[in-house]
């Protein structure tokens, strides 16, 4: 009898333990997130691992030679053409991210501090163009900057220039302008969020202690909103480094970026390993540049306080 009772006890105990695991937050949370997580795991993380693997292999006409080699990286880092594309992409993405942040900060500040009841409306108005087709927004710049475009014909109509300028389109500045416009709204949100978190009583304290509005802004608001500035910088810089549409539409031969070279390797040139190595190199390089930018901004914020 005692043996039976012990066994029943053990079974009940075991069942309770199992049940409590099934009903625990840990289990339920994992079970619920797993379909979504597995989707991202199989279609994002694994493919990225496959890309990294390919970057160490070699294209042998139609087959892939799986002997490990660094030859692709050697090409990616020494071929002047790829190096030139990579450097231009990094330069453009840095310029675009700085321009969007500088342009976006006053708007985010205005909405956060003076938006009043209309904050949500302001944010919505600013976000709407972002939801329209990226392709169409970049195409609009082709219409504006072209030889027969709106700007040229408009300036001629106003009598400001006598013949159309071909210097507006198909160059690096055109790419920077189109990208800055396309990503403008994206930089506002993180800055706005961090400005909303700035404790307003700190500003009053700064004023009570004799800081003018400019000084209070530089010593309180700006350093406290730095996390938002940093995420805005990253959220613009990293995606723009791999932009494909903008250089193709408004970059011409001068404004070619690394994504165009990557696409060629996966298309016409059919050299997947080199394309993979170019992709990995780009991601590593942009992460490094972004990291340096973050460190510089943090140091700046510390120095201001």
């Amino acid at each position: 009898m005692t043996v039976a009772a012990e066994r029943i006890d053990a079974i009940v105990h075991e069942r309770a333990r199992r049940q409590s695991f099934h009903q625990s937050e840990q289990f339920r949370g994992l079970a619920l997130i797993s379909p979504t997580f597995l989707y991202a795991f199989i279609l994002l993380l694994l493919p990225i691992v496959v890309v990294i693997a390919h970057s160490f292999w070699t294209q042998n006409y139609l087959t892939i030679d799986r002997t490990l080699t660094l030859a692709n990286y050697r090409t990616a880092l020494t071929d002047p053409m790829y190096l030139d594309h990579l450097m231009r992409s990094l330069g453009i993405s840095l310029a675009v991210s700085i321009a969007t942040v500088v342009l976006a900060y006053p708007i985010a500040y205005y909405i956060s501090f003076h938006g009043g009841r209309h904050k949500n409306l302001w944010l919505f108005v600013i976000m709407v163009p972002f939801w329209t087709s990226y392709l169409l927004r970049v195409m609009a710049w082709k219409v504006i900057l072209g030889y027969q475009g709106v700007l040229n014909t408009g300036l001629i109509g106003l009598g400001l220039i006598s013949e159309p300028s071909s210097a507006l389109l198909y160059n690096t500045p055109a790419v920077v302008i189109a990208l800055t416009h396309a990503w403008a709204a994206f930089a506002i949100l993180p800055i706005f969020v961090s400005l909303e978190k700035v404790d307003r009583s700190l500003l009053e304290a700064a004023r009570d202690l004799g800081d003018g509005p400019v000084r209070a802004f530089v010593r309180v608001t700006l350093p406290l909103s730095m996390p938002g500035v940093i995420s805005a910088l990253l959220i613009v810089m990293i995606p723009t480094v791999g932009d494909y549409i903008t250089p193709r539409l408004v970059g011409g031969t001068e404004g070619v970026m690394i994504a165009n070279a990557i696409q060629t390797q996966f298309g016409r040139a059919a050299n997947w390993p080199l394309g993979a190595a170019l992709s990995v190199t780009t991601m590593v390089a942009v992460t490094a540049v972004a990291g340096l930018a973050v460190l510089a901004l943090r140091a700046l914020a510390r120095a201001m306080r």
Binding site: E25, Y110, H114, S133, L136, V143, I144, V150, I245, L249
Partner: protein
């Protein structure tokens, strides 16, 4: 603290909004301009570029492709988003941060990296490129947006209501249908609309992953090579802009309703 903004701030805000909208508004403007090139001064009003679109079989089939991909993407991304957003807002569990980090990663990755890695895997496994592969890619791209919208709808949605319903004798399914679903329905609809809009407008992933059936942005890309077809592209683009605008506005209204029901505040992405 000053209540009055510096005088240049409102002016700057107005200029900034103009900078955001002006280039986009040129598309509708030149789509009704009676000239084969988008040049100033305007040459008079016409609907002829829109009439050219009507009989175009290639265009109509591309539009159907985009519609099918968009609908499938919206449903899949929202279903997966519901699981993810519910798990993140309702439970605390180990591994939550890295897992949701991976789901949100496409938001901060260059799209071309997402596109080529998917392409490589699909080709390596011998999958044929088709609208199905485009949909698989689009779901990945839409998931972060769907998650953000749904999380803002689920967040602050207390357990108390569900518990009360259970205590009053509702079954688990009854509670879900009569309490949970009505509360989160606006957020779900909002996520469907946002995902559909993103998929419908998406170019890069579709460019790499589509086989012989083009989506609408790919059709437009092909047309851009021919200068003479630009006005028709502008007309098509205008229709797409208006469509996106309507869907996004409805999505935002619904999302705000969802947020109001669950007593938190914010905006899309905030």
């Amino acid at each position: 603290m000053t209540r009055r903004p510096a005088s240049w701030l409102p002016i700057y805000a107005a200029l900034y909004v103009a900078f955001l909208y002006a280039p986009v508004l040129l598309l509708p403007l030149f789509s009704v301009n009676n000239s084969a090139t988008p040049t100033l001064p305007l040459a008079g009003f016409t609907w002829k570029w829109y009439q050219q679109l009507a009989g175009n079989r290639e265009l109509v089939s591309a539009a159907w492709n985009s519609l099918a991909v968009g609908l499938a993407t919206a449903v899949l991304a929202t279903l997966l988003g519901i699981c993810g957003a519910r798990a993140v807002t309702r439970y605390r569990f180990r591994g939550k941060r890295p897992m949701s980090g991976l789901i949100m990663a496409p938001l901060v990755l260059p799209e071309i990296i997402v596109a080529i890695s998917l392409l490589l895997v699909m080709l390596a496994f011998g999958l044929n490129l088709s609208l199905v592969t485009v949909t698989l890619g689009h779901v990945l791209i839409c998931l972060p947006y769907s998650m953000v919208v749904l999380m803002s709808g689920f967040d602050g949605f207390g357990l108390s209501l569900e518990e009360a319903s259970a205590d009053l004798g509702e079954t688990a399914f009854g509670t879900f249908r009569r309490v949970t679903l009505p509360m989160v329905a606006p957020a779900i609809l909002s996520s469907l609309l946002v995902s559909f809009t993103i998929s419908f407008d998406e170019f890069i992933v579709a460019f790499f992953l589509s086989g012989t059936d083009p989506t609408l942005p790919i059709y437009i890309w092909g047309q851009l090579r021919f200068a003479s077809r630009l006005p028709a592209v502008l007309a098509l683009g205008t229709i797409m802009l208006i469509g996106s605008f309507i869907l996004v506005t409805i999505a935002e209204i619904l999302r705000r309703r969802a947020v109001r029901r669950t007593q938190t505040d914010g905006c899309l992405f905030v």
